[in-house]
Symmetry: C2
């Protein structure tokens, strides 16, 4: 089974075509919905009393919510704006609200989870939380520039406590102070992570394990609407796929990265999680076949 620890949020996003206000967002939301096509993920997260019932219902249909705390106060809010090319996002505002003093609790029956995904949370919280699981087969964490800038040592320490690190290219460079992504990955592996997955947005991703590099292109799309949540959907798909197979050999991890690329491609085709909420398993299968066709020679 798979447990996901991360944020649930209400997002306000400006894209060149539309402004979304207080829509369902957060790293754990995207990762969880994406993973839910493969398993029923367990969620550890917090929302405020203002969290809309319809969003709660969406999560409840797809995820085990025993680990979702509902606190007095307001739900975490994020606000960001994309440029015309949709490749640059500026954070306009972050209101932590109930996330500020949240102490995550792992429900008793989550503790046997073999697969654990720690989203871009406070690295100290991630490092502490993973110790509460006593049967972990594969754990993976993400991080963001905010933690790299404010808690670099904690980020490095967190990497030692997991099997895999998933991180985007710019953050990998910021963290390791290297320009070359192979050098970035080697440094991160040197800190203790066995697997490193570097996400390159529209350019796909690189998976590193020992001296193996697996390079995979993104699923090419003509219409990108809102990139929010693509990286989280990528990571969620990886973890969901691995948990569904209950395997962690290299061939399965490579395949999980392909699913990551494909689920990320669905995420960016619509506003917020709307496309992820609309598609069916058959759509994913179809796109995996298209992806194979697009990359085979």
């Amino acid at each position: 089974m798979l447990t996901i620890f991360g944020s649930t949020a209400l997002d306000t996003i400006r894209t060149p075509t539309k402004v979304l206000k207080d829509v369902l967002g957060g790293a754990a939301t995207f990762a969880g919905i994406s993973a839910s096509f493969f398993v029923k993920p367990r969620l550890i997260a917090v929302v405020g009393k203002d969290f809309p019932k319809k969003y709660h219902k969406i999560l409840a249909e797809r995820l085990d919510l025993k680990g979702l705390s509902i606190k007095d106060g307001k739900t975490f809010r994020y606000s960001g704006s994309y440029d015309n090319t949709l490749s640059l996002r500026t954070t306009l505002r972050t209101d932590l609200n109930v996330l500020k003093n949240f102490k995550p609790v792992v429900p008793e029956d989550y503790k046997k989870s073999k697969f654990v995904y720690l989203a871009n949370n406070d690295p100290d919280q991630n490092t502490s939380l993973i110790t509460e699981f006593d049967n972990v087969k594969f754990s993976m964490c993400d991080t963001i520039d905010f933690w790299i800038s404010t808690k670099r040592a904690s980020v490095v320490k967190m990497f030692k406590s997991v099997d895999a690190v998933v991180i985007n290219d710019e953050e990998a460079k910021l963290l390791t102070k290297e320009f070359n992504l192979i050098k970035c990955a080697k440094k991160i592996m040197g800190w203790g992570a066995k697997y490193v997955i570097i996400k390159k947005g529209e350019h796909g991703s690189l998976l590193f394990f020992e001296d193996v590099v697996f390079t995979s292109a993104a699923f090419s799309l003509e219409k990108i609407v809102d990139p929010t949540g693509a990286g989280d959907s990528f990571a969620g798909a990886m973890m969901g796929y691995l948990a569904s197979k209950n395997k962690t050999d290299l061939a399965t991890i490579k395949k999980s990265v392909v699913y990551g690329n494909v689920m990320g491609s669905f995420a960016v085709e619509g506003y917020g999680p709307e496309v992820l909420l609309r598609i069916k398993k058959s759509d994913i299968k179809k796109r995996i076949t298209q992806y194979e066709k697009m990359t085979r020679f």
Copy 2:
């Protein structure tokens, strides 16, 4: 057989690790050397009387030089400087010299060439030159930002006169005024090119044909020394491979793109064309196998 029309130059390149002065360069030089691993390409180019004998010897060993004019005056000189990340190049100086009033002449026995590559020359010259070949099976051209900015209509006209356009991502965006690379390619195909290959540097390339997209990653390298000539080596490998097979079906063109990625990866590992001049066919074969391993899932 394959004919290549393009520049031969003396390059002065500043990289973070070394300054190269008056080294062998030019689009046709890289494309020609790269293609020479597959066929013996015919060159149409011009140099001045100052062109070093040792460079002439290098070209003579690999290429048919009947189409190389040696004119009174100085060889075309290019000078550029890379930033620390090796991803941004600034042109410091361009001295056209003998290239300025060069009127390319196609030697009689070149005219039967089935494969013709027109490098980033003046688009009007390319459009005119291709009409002198009477047995063309597959022609491809490149272009650069200078022509897009100064002779846009001629660039578009040139695209109608060839089978394939190879262009880098930034130039494709500049030319088509689109952000999305699929949209860029569709516009270029709309102008008359059957195949469009968009080079994305370290992120690989995209091949477009009708409604097919073939996306291929770059060969991942830890050590990049000098990116000069990578794109030209890519195009040269494509054309050399196709000419050696004498085929232009989609599967063969996909394979030629893979060879393009691999030859481009050799080019960036050393200063100027030094690695391309050092490797053997067996090194290319080995890297193709590594590339397959790196991308298969």
